[in-house]
């Protein structure tokens, strides 16, 4: 059982370049999330989705876009990379709305992105 799979694991971008971070889950979870993790700041929610075709902004959405065409996939798009987007990005999924004791978050292993 693969769980949540993220690709790539590492990426270096130049300022102004674009890229898509891929995320796929095989647990048939309705809810999917993108977080960024910066030292000493914990995890900040970028975007989330409650099901195919439905997405919404989290705490720090500026500079990112998402789509959810299928239940399994939730890609994150960076259009014009900036140094402030250097971070580790985590995709997660849950069966129900997170925070519910029966719906823990399942995380991928992250994508480490450096923008120079």
């Amino acid at each position: 059982n693969a769980g949540v799979t993220q690709t790539p694991k590492f990426r270096i971008l130049k300022i102004g370049q674009s890229m898509t971070l891929q995320c796929a889950q095989d647990m048939n979870h309705n809810y999917m999330y993108w977080y960024r993790q910066d030292p000493g700041m914990g995890l900040k929610l970028i975007y989330y989705s409650v099901g195919a075709g439905i997405t919404d902004k989290g705490e720090v959405p500026n500079g990112y876009n998402v789509s959810r065409s299928t239940t399994e996939d939730f890609p994150l798009r960076l259009e014009l990379a900036a140094p402030s987007q250097t971070s580790v990005y985590f995709c997660a999924s849950s069966y129900g709305r997170t925070g519910n004791g029966n719906s823990p978050l399942h995380f991928g292993n992250g994508t480490r992105l450096t923008v120079t």
Binding site: G40, G42, Y48, G99
Partner: protein, 114 residues
């Protein structure tokens, strides 16, 4: 602004020692979770607490939810090198009308020295 503050931010102890990590907020949470994250991996859920004053034990780990549901603590007894990692608390707080009602703490990086 951080809704959940954790302390200490870094902790380095010898194997066999006890330690406590704190997760504090001025807001009330309907539930709180603790995750552990190892280098190069995503966080993994350890426990969920939902009732004020609730205490849960997971082997050598004891989790407590404050009576007012604004804070939580994680106590590790006789720490082992395998406990090394980043510990994150996360709370569900329906305090806004936005969809984002789940917040992570700032994290505590624990190193247990053999």
């Amino acid at each position: 602004t951080q809704l959940l503050e954790q302390s200490p931010q870094f902790l380095s102890i010898q194997e066999g020692e006890n330690l406590t990590v704190y997760c504090n907020s001025s807001s009330v949470f309907s539930s709180l979770q603790w995750y552990r994250q190892e280098p190069g991996e995503g966080p993994v859920l350890l426990v969920t607490v939902v009732t004020g004053g609730e205490v849960k034990k997971l082997k050598r780990l004891t989790f407590q939810f404050g009576d007012a549901r604004k804070d939580s603590s994680l106590h590790i007894t006789a720490a082992q090198p395998g406990d090394t990692g980043l510990y994150l608390c996360a709370g569900f707080s329906p305090i806004t009308n936005t969809g984002n009602q789940f917040y992570f703490g700032t994290g505590t990086s624990l190193t247990v020295i053999p």
